[in-house]
Structures are given as structure tokens and as C-alpha cells.
Amino acid sequence: MRGIKILLFLFLSFFALLTYALASKEPIKIGAILSITGPASFIGEPEKNTILMLAEQINKAGGIQGRPIEVIIEDSKSEETQAVLAAKKLIEKDKVVAIIGPSTTGESMAVIPIVTQAKIPMISLAAGTGITEPVSERYWIFKTAQYDRSAVEAIYKHMQKKGIKKVGILTIATGFGDQGRKALLELAPKFGITIVADERYKPKDSDMTVQLMKAKNAGAEAIINWSVGPEQVIVVKNWHALKLGIPLYQSHGWGSKKNIQLAGPAADGVIAPLGRIVVWDKLSDKHPQKKILKNYEEAYIAKFKTEPGTFGGHAYDAFMMVVEALKKVGPDPAKIRNYIENNIKNWPGVSGIFNMSPKDHCGLDSTSFEMVVVKKGDWEILP
């Protein structure tokens, strides 16, 4: 009888130890809502890859306080309804401690009420101003992509230097293009610029010569195109073919060597405000972001055989912020939120140097861009 009691005791204590060991090895769950398929898939794909790569790196190094990170990535298919469903699933089913994403502004706006009600911090990877403003209503929301208006400011500042006063804008009829258009129209007067043509086109349109001609005809001294995806390449080719003789500016969605390749020689002379990830090798060694950019790009290329681009960078920043918060305050959604709001200061990331605060849940401005021009198939930073 006594033997059995001892056996039972040993068994129970072993069991208890096992449970304890397993429990502390229980993974910390981070959720991500990304546009892996659908029209925004070339944004979502590098974001997904980046997060997976980083999670793997962290887990190889032992995880966070011994616990591995489990990233649950949901595909929003670039659609708001799916993003909402994904958010509900991550919060209600998977019980994640934070959500990274969504990839687009529209989706982010749709998900805001859900994460706010559930009190889960969310770091969006999209540019829309409305995502983090008004800050008083965005207690749980952050973002790591620059505001559209910051990119617009960078362009307009450059135009001011060049004395350009009349501008024709071409924007794509998607959330990205629409946001850009709003910012372009809103900020023009501040820089003494008049928008003489406001043209639009659809995703998958094959020819934009009509819009370009209309802009030139209306007296434009420069053209700004706001889209991301193959359409921006078509605009470049059309602009080159028409020999308009006026400079073409692209949005910050232009930052990928692939675009230069696809546009060919037509891309020479195209100017854009780009995240430093595309020109890191042209930065001075003293630049605070250079090391991070170099490591990120080299690791990404080694693993995925292609460059990450600026969109991947937003995911990098969001993930690393969450990881840092987890390391410092543990897997508590409210504590993570507080940490990100108050402790991300002068924080060098891929997208820029972040300064989060209770008044600013984005932390980036137009200084996170470099004005870049395409020269002979490569990027060149404009002075």
C-alpha cells in the first residue's frame, strides 16, 4: 500500500513538472492579417515572408523567455470582409496577444472597431491617415507605414526646389490611389502648387496615354502617378513613349528593382520618395538605419531570392516592436500597447526612425524618405 502511495506521488509530481514545463514552453501567439492574395498581394507577400523569417530567427535564438513565438497568419485576400473575419478568428479562436496588419488602409479601417472592442493592440502596415488619427479614438492602433501625406510632402518639397508650380496627377482607383489623391489635392496649396489635371484609372487597365495626354494638355509641368503594382510600370512606359518632356514622379510604391526591370530604359529619370531599404548601399556608414537595412535585405535575399522592398520593411518594424515589447513586459496585450506607445523613441527600423507617442501612433514623417531617381537601371539618391 505504501509503495503505491509513493508511486502515485512520484507520478503526480512528474506529471505536474511536465505540465509546468509544457506550459512555460507554450508558444506566445501573435496574429497577422495580410493581403497574401488579391489585388494587394504584392504587398502582402513580402510582409508574410518577413514575419515568417523573423519569427524563425527569434525562435532559433531561444524565443522570448524560453517560450517560442507562434505567428498565425491569415489571408485577407485584400478584402475588408475577409480582414474582419480574420480579425475575429485571431482574437476569438486563436487568442493572440497582438495583431500585425492589415496590409491595406481599407482593411485596417474595417478591423479597427473589432480590435478596439477586444482590447488587442494592432500595428497596421498601411499608410492611411485615418488609421491612427484621431489618436484619441485609436488607443489600440499603431502603424509602421509612413502616412501618404509624408510621401506627398517629400514630393512637393522637391518640386518647390525645382520651381514646379503646375502638376497633373494620375491616381489608381483603389484604396492606395485614393488616399494618395486626397493627400495630393489637400497639400498642394501649402506648397504653392496647382493641380491642373486630376485623372484616374482602374486596376488592370492596359493603357494610360489618354490620362497623360490630358494632363500635358492642361499645362502640367510635371506628372505625379500614384499607384502600386504593374500599372505604375505601364504609366512609365506610356510617359516615355509619349515623349511628354516633363518629369514623372511616382509614389513610394515604386521602390522595387523589378519595376525598373519591367519598365526598361523608359524608367530613366523617374523620381520617387522611397524608403531607405532600396538605397541602403548608397547611405553613409554612419546612418543609424544602415546596419538594420543591410542585415534585413541580405537575410531576406538569402532566403527568398528576391528583394524585400519597402512593404516587407513595414512588417519588419511592426514585428520587431511587438517582440521588443514582449521581451520587456511579457504577453499582456495592454502592457504591449503601453510599451509601444511610450518606449519606441528614436527607434531605427527599416521604414525609418520611429518616434511613437500618445499623440502620434505612427512615428514617421517625410524624413523617412529619400528622394530617388532612376539612372541606368539603378537608384540614385537625389541631393
Partner: protein
């Protein structure tokens, strides 16, 4: 005036693309009365496969061209075998249309896996600056597309009217049972028509990619435009659908140029609907011709 001419040429550029796709539609429709709504996916297939042969395997242009055509024809054949064949006896045309849609989703998924989501491009048939016609710009590749559209029309005319095989295919479309009684194997004819339409869709992809680039999910839009153009011009008539394609392209271009570039598609569609109201058989086909085609 110069502006108008540029709009016109831009419209012809887009219209040529639509016309090519609409022709592919028509081939299947003419022989089987089936609307193959996976047509756009085959155009994408043509563009992506051509890229693969040309840029990845570095095959000579001619070889890549032929191989791409063969592959799109083959896949179209497989589609017919797997999805259409079992259902051809069904009376319900809606079911057949839906199956082509379902297959298009499958094909799109496969293309996504093989090629990823990035856009692909390759050089046009003849390099060089775009042509300047009356101060307006026209890309050289468009001339090639126009050439091929005409060649296609010629081929289809000769094939369907002068060859035994072509006449047999036409017979199947007009009166299936009578054709069977005459000893024509209708199942073979259907197979052949899908092979042909796959070939021409692939051709379309090969030709338009240098202008528009190609991604895995461009299919649905191309299908809708091609389908709209075909019905606008007159489904069943080769000349009709070709004209429909150009008309749609020019309409869109003019709408964008003179009215509102954001609403060009909606405006063009609206006009299409009005036209359908008054001439349901399409602009370039009489109602009688349409009825004879057994809709």
C-alpha cells in the same frame, strides 16, 4: 484635333486587345454555344508561359512562340476533356458556364503557384520607338496585334468555310443532331474548338504582354472585357466580335478623354446596355443572323 487622334489611337490599342480575346470567345461559342468564361485565364497562361520560354529558358523567339501556343492549346484541351465532356449532354447552359468559371479559379490558382504574384514582361516583337501618326503615338506592338487579328480572321474564314473540318464544326453548332446523323463526331468537334480557342487565347497573351505586362490574376478582367465586346459586336459573328472589341476600346478611350477618366468603364458599359436594348443581337449582326445561330 491632335488630342482626339491620340485618344483614337489609344482606343485602338486597347480595342485590339479586346478584339483578340473576343475572337477566342467566338470560336468556342460558334461550335458549341458554350461561353467559355475561362478565356481570360488562357490569355494569362499564354503571356506567362511565353515569358518562361523567352526569358527563363532563353529559347529563340519562334520556338518559344510555337511552344506557348501548343501549351495553351493543350491545357484548353485538357479542360474540355475534364470539365466539358462529362456535361455536354446537359441541357442547362448555365451549368456549363459555371463550370468554366470554376475551372478558371482552379487555373488561376495553379498559375499563382507557378509564377507567383509578380507582373512579368518581355520585349515586343519589334523594338523601337513608337510610331508617330499625325502627332499621335502608336506602339509598334499594336501594329503586330492588328496584323495578327487580321490573320486570325482570315484563318477562321478559310477554315470554317473552305475546309471540310471547319464546315463540320459549323454544322455541329447549327444543328447538332443533324450533324451527328451525317456522320460528324460532335465530341471531336467540340474538342477541336477548345483547342483552337486555347491557341488563339494564348496568342493573345503572347502579343499583349509586352504592352500591358501579365500577372496571374488578370484573367477575369480580360474575360469580362472580351465577353462584353463580343456581345456588343454580335456574338457568333467573327467580324462582329472583332468590331465590337475595337468599338469598346475606342468608346472607353473617348469617355476617358472627354468626360471622366474614372468613369470610363461605367460609361462604356452603360452605352453597351443601351445598345443591347435596341439591338439585342449586337451592333454588327442582324437579329435573324443571331437567331439562326440558335441561342
Amino acid at each position: 484635333m491632335e488630342l482626339f487622334f491620340q485618344f483614337l489611337l489609344s482606343g485602338i490599342t486597347v480595342g485590339a486587345i479586346y478584339a483578340l480575346i473576343a475572337l477566342g470567345f467566338n470560336i468556342v461559342y460558334n461550335t458549341t454555344s458554350i461561353l467559355n468564361l475561362a478565356q481570360g485565364e488562357f490569355v494569362v497562361l499564354g503571356g506567362l508561359v511565353m515569358w518562361y520560354f523567352l526569358e527563363k529558358l532563353h529559347l529563340p523567339y519562334g520556338l518559344a512562340f510555337i511552344s506557348t501556343l501548343l501549351i495553351s492549346g493543350l491545357i484548353s484541351l485538357i479542360m474540355e476533356r475534364l470539365t466539358i465532356r462529362p456535361l455536354i449532354k446537359e441541357a442547362d447552359p448555365i451549368l456549363l458556364i459555371l463550370i468554366t468559371i470554376a475551372f478558371s479559379i482552379l487555373l488561376r490558382g495553379i498559375l499563382m503557384f507557378l509564377f507567383g504574384k509578380d507582373p512579368y514582361g518581355y520585349p515586343p516583337i519589334s523594338e523601337g520607338a513608337p510610331l508617330l501618326i499625325m502627332g499621335a503615338v502608336l506602339q509598334r506592338q499594336i501594329i503586330w496585334i492588328l496584323v495578327f487579328v487580321l490573320l486570325t480572321m482570315l484563318f477562321l474564314y478559310l477554315f470554317f468555310n473552305q475546309t471540310m473540318l471547319g464546315r463540320a464544326m459549323k454544322a455541329c453548332a447549327l444543328a447538332r443532331d443533324a450533324a451527328t446523323l451525317m456522320g460528324i463526331k460532335t465530341s471531336q468537334m467540340v474538342m477541336l474548338s477548345f483547342l483552337l480557342s486555347g491557341l488563339f487565347a494564348g496568342l493573345g497573351g503572347i502579343l499583349i504582354t509586352p504592352i500591358t505586362l501579365m500577372e496571374y490574376d488578370r484573367g477575369p478582367l480580360l474575360t469580362i472585357k472580351g465577353f462584353t465586346a463580343a456581345v456588343l459586336g454580335g456574338l457568333g459573328s467573327n467580324w462582329g466580335v472583332m468590331a465590337g472589341g475595337f468599338l469598346l476600346g475606342i468608346l472607353e478611350s473617348l469617355m476617358a478623354g472627354y468626360i471622366h477618366s474614372g468613369l470610363k468603364d461605367a460609361l462604356a458599359l452603360f452605352l453597351l446596355l443601351l445598345i443591347l436594348l435596341f439591338k439585342p443581337a449586337g451592333l454588327f449582326q442582324s437579329a435573324e443572323q443571331a437567331r439562326l445561330r440558335k441561342l
